[in-house]
Amino acid sequence: MPKLLNLKRILIIGSGPIQIGQACEFDYSGTQACKALMSEGYEVILVNSNPATIMTDPEIATRTYIEPLKFDYLKKIIELEKPDALIPTLGGQTALNLALELDKKGVLKENNVQMLGATPTIIEAAEDREKFRSILDELSAKYPKSEMVKNFEQGLKAADILGYPLILRPNYTLGGGGGGIAYTPEEYKTMLVQALHESPTSEVLVEESILGWKEFELEVMRDQAGTFVVVCSIENFDPCGVHTGDSITVAPQQTLTDEQYQAMRDEACKIINKVGIQTGGANIQFAVHPTTGERVVIEMNPRVSRSSALASKATGFPIAKIAALLAVGYNLDELKNDITKVTPTCYEPALDYVVVKIPRFAFEKFQGSKDLLTTQMKSVGEVMSMGRTFQESLMKALAALEMSSEAIPDIHFSLEKISYPNSQRIWHIFQAFRHGLSIDQIHDLTKIHHWFLEQIHSLVAFEAQIKKNDLTDQNLRQAKKYGFTDARIAKLKNKTPLAIANLRNEWKIKPSYLQVDTCAAEFLSSTPYFYSTYWSASDFQPPTKKIVAVIGSGPNRIGQGIEFDYSCVRGVKALQKLGYQVAMINSNPETVSTDYDTSDFLFFEPLTEESIVEIFEQIKPVGFIAQLGGQTPISLAAGLVKKGYNLLGSSLDSLDQAEDRNQFSKICRKLNLRIPQSAMAGSIEDALKNEQLVGYPMICRPSYVIGGRRMEVIENQAELHSYFERHYDFISAQNPCMMDQFLSGALECDVDLVRGPGWIVMGGIVEHIEAAGVHSGDSMGVVPPQRLKFDTLQKIEKMSQELAEKMNILGHLNLQLAIKDDEIFVLEANPRSSRSVPFLAKATSIPLVDLGIAAQMSIQLSPEQVASYRWADLKQICVKGVVFPFKKFAESDSILGPEMKSTGETMGRATTYSEALVKAFVSSSLNLPAHGEVFLSLRDKDKTPLLPLFKNLQNMGYKFSATRGTADYLGQNGVECLALNKVHEGRPNCVDRIRSGQVNFVINTTSGRQSLEASFDIRRACTDYSIPCLTESDAAEAFVMALEKSKTGRIEVSHIT
């Protein structure tokens, strides 16, 4: 069937802010789909609230709306744009749920919008667990015994029937949100309440445990003619019980017989047909009993997903693109395989390599939450690697995590860390084998399939050989085939990584670059998508044109995510426009940068010095770009320059000036710029000597402790004494305590600029909404600034430019500033593209990354061109909203501080500040309650300043409750307030009131460690019940401003230009 000609305009819904379980893989799929539809001549209307995405770049769609992914806004956009169709399957669970809502409330029908790819009936058949199970029954497909539970009492009955352990799966949530494994009735009861709350339909499937079974996933596609293909089979290293997003996975599947695999394939085909999916991609998860081979269906997703992004990268089959084309009427046999260019798209990729994915976690950011993996996803990113064998691939993936250059370093071994699934388990398994534990012992503890353990065991056995014997051509070659990094071999042989690299060069032990060709070399293919291996001769043909290498940002982590992929992809395109061929190097399968048609050469490789040097030896780049991928490429730059490669843009010296605290201080002093005072103290005596210099309040933290732990704001000398007493064990002359002046109450802002040869373009100034002390990634922000004075802004521009000149920046510079009493303090300088770059680029329409490339390539711009970029000339006010993962980390505290904890951001665009705030809050899923009760728990110094705010809220009709002290104060000042017990004052107390749903939002400001601990339960209750909890007075003011605005009920939308 040719494409549908009656369609002209198609609406695509993105997935919104990056959150755990729904990350930049949907930017990849959405971008791919938009591009495919645009090239077919359709008008594409795109809605996404996430400004850090490539998909929201203006040229990706016909018109792009950066608006909240909420019913009212979508309704408005549909009424405005009148699309003919909506594709709901490309924006994750968010888009799917939203499309369902639009359908249920009649918006689609009223506006004659057709749903393509999946209809509401199909979405429900797959997503509604009860309906899905009845379909499985009809097909005689098995599934774990389970009970659908709609309330607590039913839940208790279900547990009696099924027995422990139990798995809870709430309906219609993403990433297994709200679910988990309960081993005891106590755990179960707590989790049940939570799970019922999490499901938008208050339904939870309580399921018998299939812990220890092997888990598989099939990525499948189907067209309207019924042609069915399995794009990729994926096997989980971790047995059932760990969310597939948190499991190490391997593709293709490795341990099923053909008979077992084909039976699974048949069942997948039957299920997708029965569910009624007409066209598109889906994934189906299965569990297989390790010995009997019995198979059960776990679940299916009728849409593209994280694993379909992985499958696309693993095989070269562009699932999202094909899904979009199928949705508009094509059949699989009518589309050509992009990679071979001769064979049709109805095929199943044949892999002559093995793919391993390893998730990356961020438990260290969330104090109090246990590093324990369950059916609820917790990882924040992932790496993928390819090798000819599982071992090579696994070792490359471990290196790609960027946690240790050795990839499998020796660690302090703990058997306990093997006995339950956690983020460190893989390294403990390596270590256990080093200590002589047997495969059977590890299998008994983990239920990980023998085959996987054998692979690791033989790696460790080989490691012992290397350690014992002299390095020879033969065993070094073998080590590289096994995937050992130079750094690990060096460690084993007590040499330097460089010495190992030299040996390899001498013995000509070099990696080859093989093509990902979808067909195991059966057909000729010319797609420049490569991975390295030591098992084969190279497929790689050296490029003819000048080539520039762009180093990506690796696995997403908190603090380095999609915004850097945005910069990389824009950078690649800008370089191509300048006539260069571009080689992209990255290890993150979720990204647009690792789409094979983004760059001229894609190397899917770990971002380590070793692997990049090897690539550079092959491609001989005229230079490399390190400013776009965040901190990862910046850290690699020095090593690459040392090897003789040309760093484009700012020199190493410039980078050092920004990175090295001392050098940076010197420069600031020369320019008469203020920086917060700081000092180091190895003892309380030292500290008292520096007390005057730094001044109170100050922030103290032990220097070697990462992750902001033991970091406290110290208000006076008594507290300083107390701090050193309490943290005595962590402070010494070798590990001094860092003391930094704390600019309490200061306004912070982000500045981004680009400096080229003889020109500077200001990208803009993002004013933070929260006061100093909250990490810039975690604070909300607004452009243009609302509180900074005009002449302060001018001063900021001037000093930023001076700083860029002085540091000799060529390319991007990001500054973090604090403004207190009209004085500007420089907190930090980042000589690279930053988190705020895509936000500013979307807000101001200034092509910051393109300019950055021009600067790095030393291109001259005319003064007229430079003058045409005026960041402050904004028609729309843009507010950055922030999304946090606290809900996923039980026992973690939602209080904000100097360490970044957010996973994603949103943008609210509107003609007024308050409207933009409304959108930013709503997009970040902070509900704006129209009425109800506000619970207050305030530090003393906030009470008076916030009084007008409370009066305002009272006038708007909100009621108040507070603990006794605050309630009395409010009462005395004319604000009626219900007094509640504190947690230790007996029940019912304030937390009970929050948990029982009587509170609509909370303002909770704290100071000092004790009050933090005392109010933890309040914040946690808010997190658990999705109640907005403002922990900072400026944020509270912004929130109230948004509440006031939202009461007007006005919904305005506009597309970006």
Partner: protein, 371 residues
């Protein structure tokens, strides 16, 4: 770890290692072919169509899930060698490598199979030999003789792989048809699929006289898969010609090719054939497109088929003939493997088509059997 080599006739040499467990290394020669299936090594090695062939698996890791006698496609292993990147040789009760060793199949691992496949793809299907040697030169010398010796085989490979005696099997459908099977080197699963749908099958050696077949009064005849060049097959084309138009004829793979010869068409040697589990087929009989299990080195020339025989299946990768059907002559030829093993199952319905659509109502057996 001793060195081993795969030497191609062209002189190309691919180095690998032999397993220490295979110390008495059986050096063998054969045609060198590659298969892109991810799984199914045991089925492949026991498929008689791989007679006199050295099989190169493109999936790098082999032997991952052990072995299972139930999946054997015949009573022995037919391959002349097994080549891959990494053999899973870990100690389990019964390993794949152990089984190959017991069956005297030379194993060559740690081979750059990707280079090898690209060579096979560009050279066509060369002859080659697997030998253990100290270096490439010695290997080449050894290989020449082995290849020459292996090439002396009678070129009617079907005859070499066919049963020598008639074999009867009871079908599971008491009212179903009696199907004669002409054994060209049959895969067990063709027989299993027939048993499910018939009252009886009788398997005849490839060169059985047509009278002997007719004496059994079959309702139809199945021509099985088998190895080698269809043009070299003796007697069977005549046998088929005499049955054509009288009883339904269903040929798979070699059976399909020999059927085409009986119809007066011509076959040709493909450059490197199709071997894998992921080839798309457009099937106009079942009216769908699906993935198929493939293993053939020859194909039928479409334009040489009689006018009343329609090409009803095409391989969508290269548009080669994947099947033909004649309503008038009541014959069906399928180039790929509807019996799968290994590979996807979608084409199994062709067995139903054979039983339901090609047999007269009286012999169809279960009339409610639906497509």
């Amino acid at each position: 770890m001793k060195k081993g080599f795969l030497v191609l006739e062209s002189g190309d040499v691919f180095e690998g290692i032999t397993l220490s467990e295979q110390s008495h290394f059986p050096e063998k020669a054969g045609e060198v072919v590659f298969n892109t299936s991810h799984s199914g090594y045991e089925e492949i090695a026991t498929d008689p169509s791989y007679f006199s062939q050295i099989i190169v698996m493109t999936a790098p890791m082999q032997g991952n899930y052990g072995v299972d006698a139930k999946v054997w496609e015949s009573e022995k292993m037919w391959i002349q060698g097994f080549v891959c990147v990494q053999m899973q040789n870990t100690k389990r009760e019964n390993t794949w490598s152990q089984l190959l060793i017991e069956n005297k199949v030379p194993i060559l691992t740690e081979v750059d199979t990707r280079r090898l496949v690209i060579t096979l793809r560009s050279q066509g299907t060369p002859w080659g030999a697997i030998v253990a040697a100290e270096n490439a030169e010695t290997a080449k010398q050894k290989a020449v003789g082995l290849i020459a010796e292996q090439k002396k085989l009678d070129n009617d490979w079907v005859h070499l792989c066919s049963r020598s005696k008639i074999e009867d099997r009871k079908g599971l459908k008491p009212n179903g048809p009696r199907v004669a099977v002409l054994d060209f080197g049959a895969k067990e699963n063709i027989l299993r699929e027939l048993v499910l749908r018939t009252s009886a099958i009788r398997i005849f050696p490839a060169r059985t006289d047509v009278k002997v077949i007719e004496d059994w009064k079959p309702d139809s005849i199945m021509l099985t898969n088998g190895p080698g060049d269809p043009a070299a097959v003796k007697i069977a084309p005549d046998t088929i010609r005499q049955l054509l138009g009288r009883i339904p004829v269903f040929g798979i793979c070699m059976g399909h090719q020999v059927l085409s010869l009986a119809l007066g068409a011509k076959t040709y040697k493909m450059k490197f054939g199709h071997r894998g589990a992921n080839h798309p087929i457009r099937d106009e009989l079942l009216n769908k497109i699906y993935m198929s299990s493939q293993n053939h080195g020859y194909a039928v020339q479409a334009e040489t088929l009689p006018v009343d025989v329609l090409v009803t299946q095409r391989n969508l990768n290269d548009q080669t003939v994947a099947g033909f059907y004649s309503k008038k002559l009541n014959c069906l030829g399928i180039q790929y493997h509807p019996e799968s093993r290994p590979g996807p199952h979608e084409a199994t319905q062709l067995f139903d088509f054979f039983i339901n659509e090609m047999h007269p109502a009286t012999t169809k057996g279960n009339k409610s059997y639906e497509l």
